[in-house]
């Protein structure tokens, strides 16, 4: 089951990136190349997060599957996971990289990809990377937490109390 957004005006802070590309290949082929063969086209040389050079990018073909890169040394770095797996029409990935380009499973933005057959050998691929406002929200939350009385001040007080307690 997938969640259909209720009809409501988009929040003014909602931010997304939308891209459309026409691929001269059948729908099922386009879906397969985007998922099973992601390592053949993802710009790994410039866009990977592991310490080792990236060898490939992998999307596990099921809802709940992992989305990760594998380095030339065999190491693996998580990018996120598969939220919706509906071949050959639709794919939704959770992009779990925070603003520091580190994997953070408690944080994600969504990448939805739709594959629309416009002919037997022609597919329109519509991509939306949404919830980007969460980056700003997260920064604001962290800032508020660190600035508030309950943040570092409280931690320092706890630390001072603990440090003052005889062992």
């Amino acid at each position: 089951m997938t969640v259909t957004p209720t009809v409501m005006p988009e929040a003014p802070t909602a931010m997304s990136v939308k891209k459309t590309v026409l691929v001269e290949a059948p729908q099922a082929h386009a879906f397969a190349v985007f998922t099973e063969r992601q390592g053949t086209w993802w710009p790994l040389a410039t866009h990977h997060i592991g310490k080792a050079a990236a060898q490939t990018a992998i999307v596990e073909p099921r809802a709940g599957g992992r989305w990760f890169e594998r380095g030339v040394d065999g190491s693996e770095c998580e990018w996120g996971r598969v939220l919706v797996w509906e071949p050959p029409h639709r794919l939704v990935l959770a992009w779990e990289l925070n603003a520091e380009w580190q994997h953070d499973p408690s944080f994600h933005t969504e990448v939805e990809v739709r594959f629309v057959a416009v002919g037997p050998r022609s597919t329109r691929v519509e991509l939306e990377h949404r919830n980007l406002e969460r980056y700003a929200d997260k920064a604001e939350q962290l800032r508020t937490a660190l600035d508030s009385e309950g943040g570092w001040n409280q931690l320092l007080q706890l630390f001072a109390a603990a440090a003052a307690t005889p062992a």
Binding site: M15, V17, K19, V21, L22, V23, E24, A25, P26, H29, A30, V33, F34, R37, T40, W41, W42, P43, H47, N98, A99, E100, W101, R121, V125, L127, H129, L132, E133, Y135, A136, K138, A139, L142, R143, L146
Partner: protein, 109 residues
Amino acid sequence: MIEPIHRIAALGDATRREIFGILAGGPSSVAGIASRLPVSRPAVSQHLRVLKDMGLVTHQTVGTRHIYRLDPDGIAALRDYLDSLWERALKDFKAAAERSFTHGKENSQ
């Protein structure tokens, strides 16, 4: 008005992207940023100047310390960065999908 392309360029540098990321986690001084990166303080200051000129970060002086934080509008730069990433990725995806489809047809003929 700073063109998005210039903001992307500012974040095209790996160190500046890391500094931007650190500030996304909360305000910091130059020394605070330098302590988390293998980069000297003068180099951090230099990068911060670029980010500030691009409208990505703002700064205020507290006593003798300069505290930097993300410019609220600067988050738009992250969007610009992802925009350029997907532009590039989809272009490469299209080429790979069309190439492999054409090859598959040739092989089956």
